[in-house]
C-alpha cells in the first residue's frame, strides 16, 4: 500500500514534468505584450519572458484584452493586497491538488528524502535581474536558517521524525534539491501551505541579510533603508517586513504579476491611496501568447469601515468586494452593474455565532463546568436555532452546529446536526447533571452555593453585541445568567494572555480549513492564543480528550503515510465531534463576492480558504476589463 502511494506521487511528478516538456516542444509561439509597455525602455517581450512561460489555460478563462485597472478598497491590511497577487513555487488548484507554479516541476526519489525542483530558464525578477536556483537556495540557507525574516524554518522543511531542518542545495542555475534525513512524503503540499514562496531576490538583500546575521545593526538598517526608503527601528522588524511582507514595500523585486508602485504618493500602503503596477517581467502568458497580466494596475483606496466599502462598490469606485448576505439586495438595486458570485467557505459554522469556553480557566468551579460535556450540550440545546437563525439572518440562514461542511474531511450529517434540537427541559436536566443547582432567583448556582454567572466577552465592532442580544433571552430562559462585554482587540488580547477570559462569543478562526490534515495544529490547544478556546492550555495542563488531541496532532506531524495521516486527522475530528468544544448556532454561509460587471474572467465557484490564498485562487492576472 505504502509503496503504491509512493509510486503514485512519483508518477504524478513525472507527469507534471512531461506536460511541461510537451508545452515547450510545441511550435514556437510569438509572444505579445501590453500596450502599456510600448515605447518604454525595456527588452523585447520574448526576452523578458522565460524560455517556457507558464500558460494560464484553465478552461473557464477567455482570451482577454489589455488595459484598465482593478479598483479595490482596503482597510490597511497587508494580506488583503498580498494574497491575490502571491506567487509561490507551487500552488493549489480549486480541486485541492498542488500544481507547479514558479517551479517548472519537481522530482522525488524513491524513499521521498530528496526532492529535486526545476525552475524556468530565463525567468526574471520584476527588476529584470535573473531569477535562479541561487535565489531559492540562498533564501533558505541565509534567511530561513538564520530566522532573518522572523519566521525561520517552516514545518515543511523540518524532518518528519527528527525535526531537523532539511538541506537545500543548488544543482545548477535552474535546479536545486531539498534533502531530508527521513522520508517526507508531504513536502510539496506542506511547502505550499506553510511557506508558499521559497525565494527572495538575493541580489537585493544579500548585504542586508549578511549584516543582520553578523549582528551589524547599522549596516543592516542602512541597507534596508536603501532598498525601500523606509526607516526601521530594529533589524528583526526590517527583516520581517522586507522578507516576509515583501509586497508591501516599494523597491523589493518580486515574481508577482503586480508590484507596488515606486511613485511618491502611490507607494505607501499606510497612505490614502496606493497602487500595484504590472510587472514587466511577469512570466505567465495566456493561451494566445499574450503576456499577463491583462490589467495595468490594481489600485487601492483606504477606507475605514465596511459601510464605506459598500458605498464605493455601489457608485463604481471599487470593483470588487465581499458582501454580507444582508447587503446583497442593496448591491443588486444599485445603478452600477454588479454581479454576485457565491464561493464556498471552509468555516465550520457562521463564525458570528460561535461560542467557546476557556477550558483552562483559573476558577475551579468554572473549569469543572466548562470541561463538562453536559454543560456544553445544555448551552447548545437551550437555543431555538430555527427562530434564532431567522432573526439573525432575516430568514436566509438555517440553524447549525460547529462541524465540518459537507464535502470537507470529517463531515457527517450526524455531527452537523449534533445538539441542535431545542429542548429547554433537557438543557436544564443537563445543567443539573453538570453539577449546577437551581437558585432561588431562578438562575443556576454552583453546587457550593456560589453564584454562577457566565461572563461572555467579544471584540467590539464585530457584531457580537447584536448576536448576544438575541441569545441572552434563551440563556436566561434556561436559567443561565450571563453578562456581555465587548472591548478593543488589545484589551481582549491582554485578558487572553492573562487567562482572564471565561467565555468568548467570537469566531474561532483556527477551526475550519480545507482539510485538517493540511493544517493540523489549528485544531489543538497551545496554538490559538487569540481565542479563549483552550485558554493558556498546553501539553502539561491538558487532560483527557484534550491531551489526546495534542498527542494525535504530534503524531500526525511525524507521520508520512497519507492514509495514516487521514486516519489520524479523522481521529482528531472525532474528538472534536464528541466534545463539541466550540458551539455554534447558525450554519455557515457561502462567501459572496460583489464584482463589477466590467471585470471578466472572475472565478465563479471558488473556495475561500487561507491555503488557497483566499482571493488568490481566482488568479487576478487573468482578469480583464470589458
Amino acid at each position: 500500500m505504502k509503496n503504491l502511494k509512493k509510486a503514485v506521487s512519483l508518477l504524478m511528478a513525472i507527469a507534471m514534468l512531461l506536460s511541461l516538456v510537451s508545452i515547450a516542444s510545441a511550435e514556437t509561439v510569438t509572444y505579445t505584450q501590453a500596450p502599456y509597455w510600448e515605447g518604454k525602455d525595456l527588452p523585447a517581450v520574448a526576452d523578458r519572458l522565460p524560455l517556457e512561460p507558464m500558460v494560464e489555460d484553465a478552461e473557464y478563462l477567455d482570451i482577454g484584452t489589455y488595459g484598465g485597472e482593478l479598483k479595490r478598497s482596503a482597510g490597511g491590511g497587508n494580506w488583503d493586497a498580498g494574497k491575490p497577487i502571491e506567487e509561490g513555487l507551487f500552488r493549489f488548484t480549486t480541486k485541492g491538488t498542488v500544481e507547479p507554479n514558479v517551479a517548472k516541476g519537481f522530482k522525488v526519489n524513491e524513499d521521498a528524502t530528496v526532492y529535486t525542483i526545476y525552475l524556468r530558464e530565463g525567468m526574471k525578477w520584476s527588476d529584470g535581474a535573473p531569477f535562479t536556483a541561487e535565489d531559492c537556495v540562498w533564501f533558505y540557507n541565509a534567511v530561513c536558517l538564520n530566522k532573518v525574516d522572523s519566521k525561520g524554518v517552516r514545518n515543511c522543511h523540518k524532518d518528519a521524525v527528527t525535526g531537523n531542518p532539511a538541506k537545500v542545495e543548488k544543482v545548477d542555475d535552474y535546479t536545486f534539491t531539498v534533502t531530508f534525513e527521513t522520508p517526507k512524503y508531504t513536502f510539496v503540499e506542506d511547502l505550499t501551505v506553510d511557506l508558499k514562496w521559497h525565494f527572495a531576490p538575493k541580489h537585493i538583500f544579500e548585504k542586508m541579510v549578511q549584516a543582520a546575521i553578523d549582528g551589524n545593526t547599522e549596516v543592516a538598517l542602512a541597507e534596508a533603508k536603501a532598498i525601500c526608503g523606509m526607516e526601521f527601528s530594529d533589524v528583526s522588524k526590517a527583516g520581517k517586513e522586507l522578507l516576509y511582507y515583501f509586497w508591501n514595500y516599494q523597491g523589493v523585486p518580486t515574481l508577482n504579476p503586480f508590484v507596488l508602485s515606486t511613485e511618491e504618493g502611490k507607494n505607501n500602503i499606510k497612505g490614502e491611496y496606493y497602487e500595484y503596477v504590472r510587472n514587466p517581467y511577469y512570466w505567465k502568458v495566456d493561451k494566445a501568447g499574450q503576456q499577463l497580466p491583462y490589467m495595468d494596475k490594481i489600485t487601492y483606496v483606504t477606507v475605514s469601515n465596511v459601510d464605506q466599502q459598500l458605498m464605493l462598490l455601489l457608485d463604481g469606485t471599487v470593483d470588487l468586494q465581499t458582501v454580507a448576505l444582508e447587503s446583497i439586495p442593496t448591491v443588486l438595486e444599485s445603478e452600477t452593474a454588479i454581479n454576485i458570485y457565491e464561493w464556498s467557505g471552509t468555516d465550520w459554522s457562521d463564525t458570528r455565532t460561535q461560542i467557546h469556553f476557556n477550558l483552562n480557566v483559573d476558577n475551579a468551579n468554572l473549569k469543572a463546568l466548562f470541561n463538562n460535556k453536559d454543560f456544553r450540550q445544555g448551552m447548545s440545546i437551550c437555543v431555538d436555532r430555527e427562530e434564532f437563525a431567522a432573526l439573525f439572518s432575516d430568514g436566509w440562514q438555517t440553524g447549525g452546529q460547529a462541524a465540518p461542511q459537507a464535502g470537507a474531511l470529517g463531515y457527517s450529517e450526524e455531527w452537523a446536526n449534533q445538539w441542535t434540537e431545542y429542548d429547554v427541559a433537557k438543557a436544564k436536566g443537563l445543567f443539573e447533571a453538570a453539577g449546577l443547582v437551581m437558585g432561588a432567583d431562578g438562575f443556576y448556582d454552583f453546587a457550593d452555593g456560589t453564584d454562577f454567572v457566565l461572563n461572555i466577552v467579544s471584540v467590539a465592532d464585530n457584531g457580537a453585541a447584536d448576536t448576544y442580544k438575541i441569545l441572552d433571552p434563551y440563556f436566561r430562559a434556561a436559567g443561565i445568567k450571563t453578562t456581555f462585554k465587548d472591548s478593543d482587540r488589545s484589551n481582549i488580547d491582554n485578558d487572553l494572555m492573562a487567562n482572564a477570559v471565561e467565555c468568548m462569543l467570537y469566531p474561532v478562526t483556527a477551526i475550519g480549513e480545507i482539510s485538517i490534515a493540511l493544517k493540523p495544529n489549528s485544531m489543538v490547544p497551545g496554538r490559538a492564543t487569540n481565542v479563549a478556546w483552550y485558554g493558556t492550555m498546553d501539553k502539561e495542563t491538558a487532560t483527557g480528550d484534550l491531551l489526546k488531541l495534542i498527542e494525535l496532532c504530534e503524531e500526525l506531524g511525524k507521520t508520512a503515510d497519507t492514509e495514516k495521516r487521514t486516519q489520524l486527522s479523522l481521529d482528531m475530528l472525532k474528538l472534536h465531534q464528541e466534545n463539541q468544544w466550540t458551539i455554534a448556532y447558525v450554519a455557515s454561509t457561502p462567501l459572496y463576492w460583489a464584482v463589477n460587471a466590467r471585470i471578466q474572467n472572475f472565478l465563479e465557484d471558488g473556495v475561500w480558504s487561507d491555503i488557497y490564498r483566499d482571493l488568490g485562487i481566482a488568479h487576478c492576472q487573468c482578469w480583464f476589463i470589458q
Partner: protein, 426 residues
Amino acid sequence: MQEVLTDAAAVSTAGSFFQFIADRWIGYLLVALAVAALCILRFKKKELYQKLESWGLIFITAVAVFGGLVGKFIWILLIGLLVYLLMRLKMRNKEMYRYVKQRLLMFIPTVIIIAFVIFFIIQLPPGDYVTSYVAAMSAEGEIFTPEQIADLRLQYGLDDPWYIQFFNWVKDIVLHGDFGYSFEYGRDVWDVIMDRLYLTLAISFVILVFQYGVSLPIGIYCARHQYSVGDYALSFIGFIGTATPNFLLAIIIMYYLYTSTGHVYLGLFSTEMLQNGMRWEYVPEFLGRCAIPLIVIGTSGTCGIIRTVRAQMLDEQARQYTLTARAKGCSEKTITYKYCLRAAMNPVVSGMAGSLRTIFSGSTVSAIVMNLAIQGPVLLAALKAQDMYLAGTTVLIQAILVLVGTLLSDIALAWLDPRIRFSERG
C-alpha cells in the same frame, strides 16, 4: 549640513548629543545666545538696550525664521515671534504685559503636567504594544515563548515602569526633538504625525472659524429679534444640528448626495485626485468635498454659541447702562455692537478653547465615517494598538493647541475686560 538636516532619528539613536547640537540646533543656540545677550544688556546697559531692542528683536525673529525653516521645528519660529510680540506689548501696555508674562510662565509647567497626565491615561489600559503585537502574530500562526516576549519588551523599552518610560520620552523630546517611535508604523512618530498634521490643523481651524462666523451673527440677530419667527426658526435648525450625532448627519448627507448625484463623496480627495495629484480642475470638487465635514462637524457646535450669544445679549440689553445709552440717544447699532456685544463676548471667548477641544474629539468619529485623512482615526487606532508614543504625541499636540487656545482666549478676555487683568494681582 545637508546630510544632517534630513533626519532626526538617525542622530538621536546614535545618541551623540553634542554632535546633534553642533549640527542642527544652531537655530536654538542662536536664539538662546541672542536672548542671553539681550538680558545682559537689559540690566547692564539700559540705554544701549533700549536702542538695540527693536533691532535685537528683528534679529531674533530672523534667526527664528531661519531655524524654523531649516529644521522641522516650526516652534522656533513661534518662540521668536512670541518674544517679539511680548517686547512690543511691554512697551505699549504694561498691565497687559504683566498679565501675559505671568500666563506664559505658567505655560511650561502646565504642559509638563498635561504630558504626565496624558501618558498616565494612555498607559492605563492593561497590556502594551507587545501584547497586541504578539496577539496579532499568534493569529497569523507565530508562537512566542515568554523569553521572546520579554525580549520584545526590552527592545521596545516597554519593560520599565511607566514613569520611567515617561521620563525617557520627555527627555528625548527635550534633548533630541525625538518624539519616539511608532511601533505600528515602524517610523518616527513625528513623521507619522506630519503626514496629517497640516490637514488636521487646517480643518480644525476652518471649522472653528465657520462655527464662530456663522453663529455670532445669528446669535446677535436672535437676541435683537427675540421671539420672532426668525429667532425660532434659527434656534430650531441649530438644535437639530446639535441633537444629531455627527456620524448620522454625515451618513445622511452622503446618502442624499449619492441618490441625487450617483457619486459617493468619501474623504476630501477623490480617487482621481489621489492618482493624479492636485490640479486646477479638481479645485471645485475639492472645495465641495471640504464643505461636507465643515457642515457635519461645524454644526454640532454652532447651536451652543448661538444660544450663548443670544442669552448674553439679552442679559446685556436689559442692563441699566443700555437703558442709559438709549436714553442718551445712542443709535441701536452702537448700543448693540459697541456696548452689549463687547460685554456679551466674555463667555463666548472663554469657550473658544473648549470648542477647539470638542472639534478635536468630535472630528474623530466623523473622520472615520467620512474617511478623512486627519489625525483622529490615527489616534484611535494608535490607542487601540497601544502604540503609546504615537498616541501620546498626538494627544499632547492637541492638548498644547487647546492650551494655546485657552491662553489666547484669556488674553482676549483680558483685552476685552480690563477688570480681569487687574484681578490677576489678587
